[in-house]
Amino acid sequence: MKTAVRIREDLELKNPIITASGTAAYGEELSEFLDLSVLGGFVTKGLSIRPKRGNPTPRIAETPCGMINSIGLENVGIPVFLKEKLPYLNQFSTPVVVNFFGETEDDYVIAAEMLSIEGIAALEMNVSCPNIKRGGIEFGKDPESLHTLVKKVREVTKKPLIVKLPPLVTDIVVIARAAVSAGADVLTCCNTFPAMVIDENLRRPLLGNVTGGLSGPAIKPVVLKLVRDVSQSVHVPIIASGGASTYRDVIQFLLAGATAVEIGSESLRNPLCFLEIIKGIEEYMERFRMHSVSEITGTLEIV
């Protein structure tokens, strides 16, 4: 039985289970619970060329079967990451994927250049940041902005380039195609849904930043459909992200067309879930006498 999956010819993961950006920091804390080497991949917190302080608190709100975060992309900045955090992560046999973002196209390009070094297995672009030039709409929500941005980044890096799509768009297929035609090797589907919570007694938003991103099981059924839509219209591997909490969810994402799955919110409430999920996948494969995860990916039967 082979749980390994390949997301580009030069990048194999030992299994399809990956941490989600922003929910495993830079690895130190999570490794108090488990050996990071068991993971298929490790995605870092989102990084920018300069450190970022993030949003005012409260930054976390609980919602029905989910949560909203408005961390505001707080991070130590790429230079500190490379010096202090990456060596730690490189102790493990797990490929390190660096999630990054910028405020301008140049930021993205510079970040990608800084990150195209040994010890980093792939780059995941968070394109859910406002493009100030184009009236503040997110890079990822406008196919043209996205195409230009991805193309520029593609020119400066040979690393596997993963583009993480925003979910709340009219037609995600258009966005997915823009990213792929600009050179994305892989797509992550998707980031969080813009959302908010109100304290009806204080008559104020609960989050310091008013709004944030919804994640967790609540969004899974929507993301499952988005993953299927994207996987049926582009020919690059898809990483599913959004609400996976058990091995059953992971299998569902694989059936819908994903090659790997990120686990985010669930690991905040249950850091051992990675082990449970990997075990669950192995048992599922045994139960159905499968030899490779590729026997699952995209094999959903529509009668």
Partner: protein
């Protein structure tokens, strides 16, 4: 740091909306001020764990102590002897030990009691000021009254128990009589902590405060729970929940 599932020995109502839950289990080397992330239900609802201070941990029993505020604590309040609960912990830094000979003052407001009480029981000396809105909200009255080696002062906003005053008003009164080599351990509403720090700073007395913030993970990965300090953003769940009061940027929120 562990993820433990254990059995409830008992869960007693000890005051209005306030419960003392005793769990089976050991935690090697916990410090007063540390906390657990307690899972309320096995299902995904409520989604997040709840941060609750470790009140005590000895003889294979762990005490936690909570006030019902919302859905999660209401569900915890309904749990009965024999039911299972799981938690991650011990988490956070905990209060620091006093220097030998230092005088000690504990101050707690309302639901901020557990970490401070835990420290007082641990050290077994000093003065304890506990303030609440009204008598009904003062739990563990006997346990507080009879703290070995400790003098307890109660105060309530409506005068129904002890002095009619805020805990910080009592602090202002007693602080002059304290030797300079005193250390304050505090937990309670943010405004109370800010005033405690103000009073302590004036008297040049070191003061440690245990802070609350909304948490998702409780073990440092999500950056959800930061507090602004002289050293930049620090995570309440990891670098805290106990901070030196003078490091906190009190004005920032």
């Amino acid at each position: 740091m562990k993820d433990i599932t254990t059995r409830i020995i008992k869960n007693d109502k000890v005051a209005e909306k306030t419960y003392l839950m005793t769990l089976e289990g050991d935690l090697t080397e916990t410090k007063p001020g540390q906390f657990l992330m307690v899972q309320v239900q096995r299902s995904h609802e409520p989604f997040l764990r709840r941060p609750l201070a470790i009140l005590s941990c000895r003889d294979r029993m762990i005490e936690i102590f909570f006030t019902v505020r919302g859905e999660g604590t209401a569900l915890l309040a309904e749990k009965r002897t024999g039911e299972l609960v799981s938690f991650i912990g011990p988490l956070g830094n905990g209060f620091s030990d006093p220097a030998p000979g230092e005088h000690l003052l504990y101050i707690a407001g309302g639901a901020g009691l557990p970490p401070v009480l835990s420290m007082a029981e641990h050290l077994g000396r000093g003065m304890f000021i506990f303030g609440a809105k009204t008598e009904a909200e003062i739990p563990l009255h006997n346990r507080l009254q009879n703290l070995e080696g400790i003098q307890t002062l109660f105060c309530t906003e409506d005068g129904s128990l002890g002095t009619k005053a805020l805990a910080t008003e009592i602090l202002s009164r007693v602080i002059k009589s304290l030797p300079t080599s005193t250390r304050i351990y505090a937990c309670g509403p943010r405004e109370m902590l800010r005033q405690t720090w103000n009073i302590a700073a004036h008297a040049e007395i070191p003061c440690e405060v245990s802070l609350e913030e909304r948490m998702a993970c409780g073990f440092g990965v999500c950056s959800g729970c930061v507090v602004e300090t002289q050293q930049g953003n620090l995570r309440v769940c990891r670098e805290g929940p106990v901070f030196d009061a003078q490091d906190i940027l009190w004005g920032s929120r």
